[in-house]
């Protein structure tokens, strides 16, 4: 975990109620896709946790959905202003668990935490199919970016406004197979359905209301097959086998 001040380079709306913020500053503490940062928000007591979508040596980007007091304030932030972050939080996804061909299933804003994971998998020479599920076209994020990485990208929307009409599990039914590992991030019901559908091993990124974000307050503990675990510190990424739905 590292703490530092970052400068906002960009903070703009990219889809319905969804914003992307790019910041400059020290990213050395960020090691794996699926890790998160905790953002200090003036006007809120607690920090707000967000997965890092992508990062370079000295910039990082976050994609966030405006859902409450904290994200509402964040969406008003101007370029050039300074933000305090804790970075390098959580364990992140483990790319070594996939040998050759990965299936990455994301729902809604869950497309964000998996982005750097897919980048890493492709850099490691693995074949990746990304299944993105949204309610409708207005929520579509990262579609072009995932394609540019070289992943096969398939989309499902509830209303059929883009991709196939239905759920991510409907898309999975149409895939050829041959995957040796999966990764999933999105609404809990979606991830549960994905875990039940796929008989290969996988990793799941859980979400919980957090206190500290760094393992000291036990405010986000979940039950797992391996005992109580802190989502912020022991997770947010867990083995499919350990998750208790």
């Amino acid at each position: 975990m590292r703490q530092g001040d970052y400068t906002i380079l960009e903070n703009s709306r990219i889809a319905s109620r969804i914003w992307r913020m790019t910041l400059s500053g020290d990213t050395e503490g960020i090691l794996r896709g699926g890790q998160f940062v905790d953002v200090e928000v003036d006007g809120c007591f607690l920090r707000r946790p967000f997965a890092v979508t992508d990062w370079t040596k000295d910039t990082l980007s976050l994609i966030y959905k405006v859902v409450g007091q904290g994200t509402e304030i964040m969406s008003q932030w101007r370029e050039g202003s300074s933000v305090n972050l804790l970075t390098g939080l959580g364990n992140g996804f483990d790319t070594s668990l996939c040998r050759k061909k990965a299936l990455v299933v994301c729902g809604g804003i869950g497309a964000s935490p998996a982005f750097h994971l897919v980048k890493e998998l492709i850099e490691e020479g693995k074949e990746v199919t990304v299944v993105l599920g949204y309610n409708n076209a207005s929520e579509l994020i990262l579609f072009d970016e995932y394609r540019k990485l070289g992943a096969g990208v398939r989309v499902a929307t509830m209303d059929g406004s883009v991709g196939i009409k239905g759920l991510v599990t409907d898309v999975i039914d149409t895939l050829d197979g041959g995957y040796d590992f999966f990764y999933t991030c999105g609404p809990k019901v979606m991830m549960e359905a994905v875990c039940r559908k796929l008989d290969i091993s996988g990793q799941v990124s859980l979400e919980e209301r957090m206190g500290c974000g760094c393992g000291i307050c036990f405010g986000c503990t979940c039950h797992t097959a391996d005992g109580p675990k802190r989502v912020c510190f022991d997770g947010p990424v867990f083995k499919k086998e350990d998750v208790i739905w």
């Binding site: 703490q3 206190g211 500290c212 760094c214 036990f218 986000c220």
Partner: protein, 301 residues
């Protein structure tokens, strides 16, 4: 300049102590900064047996504070004494405060007896805000007679100084403090969290799964100061002041109200470096206020 303080013959290099439940068992934070700068560490509250605690959500945002309903998640006193405390002791030379809880007098006794036997524990802090399962679920600390009963029981089995951590959810905290003093307590920590609630107006449900939780954070500082001062005036026990402390100036205020040491709680959750920052800030503030020895301000108001 003197920043060290003394609690029942135990010297703390400075009065700053992370409060129980906001610093784990000290090990996580040791990767954030050198925790040897801390006067003491109050460890996560421990019960006789391991507890999962309450279901999530356990946390709710509040104006200038937060609610938690962790519900005393802990690995049990055996793991505390055999694993957590020895691991902390390897990297930390300051004062170790074991915080214990119980749901019956017997549990308090057994728990205190186990931590008292650990050579690495300097002070025992007893949380009396848990519901008494044999007493209709009322918290031990909300009644002077039961608070005294717990105090007597734990004093019988402890060879270490015992601090009773008082609940603020009472009408007359001074009466409870006096009862603990008469029952043999060596010191008092106050205040624990204030019972609170938040409601999600869209879901029409309480935010935390447990319905109610403990309110803490900057907003409670005035309440904590008032209670510390009342208790300081009502009895002669040393006090660890706790509640809403977020900076060195709050530490000074808490000491002026009557505290000998000062615990920092919810602020650690906003800023994991909070205690270190306060320790660094304190001598500068003392210089500005012309305080040569921090002990000279204890209870000065």
């Amino acid at each position: 300049m003197v920043t060290s303080v003394n609690l029942c013959g135990i010297e703390l290099r400075n009065p700053v102590v992370p409060a129980s439940g906001t610093f784990g068992f000290g090990l996580e934070a040791s990767s954030f900064y050198d925790i040897n700068c801390l006067g003491g560490i109050s460890l996560k509250g421990t019960t006789l047996e391991a507890r999962f605690g309450n279901e999530c959500p356990r946390i709710a945002e509040c104006p200038d504070g937060m609610i938690n309903s962790v519900g005393l998640q802990n690995p049990g006193v055996k793991v505390l004494v055999e694993e957590k405390i020895p691991a902390l002791r390897k990297i930390y030379g300051g004062v170790v405060i074991a915080n214990v809880s119980g749901f019956s007098i017997e549990e308090y006794e057994k728990c205190c007896s186990a931590v008292s036997a650990s050579p690495d524990v300097d002070i025992i802090e007893v949380n009396v805000s848990c519901p008494n399962v044999h007493g209709g679920g009322l918290a031990f600390g909300t009644d002077a007679a039961t608070a005294a009963q717990v105090t007597r029981a734990v004093k019988r089995v402890s060879t270490k100084p015992v601090f009773i951590k008082l609940s603020p959810n009472v009408t007359d905290i001074a009466a409870i403090a006096r009862a603990c003093e008469e029952a043999g307590a060596d010191g008092l920590t106050l205040i624990n969290t204030i019972l609170g609630m938040r409601i999600d107006i869209r879901r029409r449900k309480p935010v935390v799964a447990n319905r109610y939780g403990g309110f803490s954070g900057r907003a409670v500082l005035p309440v904590a100061l008032r209670m510390v001062n009342q208790v300081h005036n009502a009895c002669s026990l040393p006090i660890m002041g706790c509640g809403g402390v977020s900076c060195a100036s709050d530490v000074v205020e808490m000491m002026m109200a009557g505290a000998t040491a000062v615990q920092v709680g919810a602020e650690n959750l906003r800023n994991p470096m909070a205690c270190r920052d306060i320790v660094n800030e304190l001598p500068l503030l003392m210089e500005e206020l012309h305080i040569e020895n921090i002990n000279e301000i204890i209870g000065i108001v």
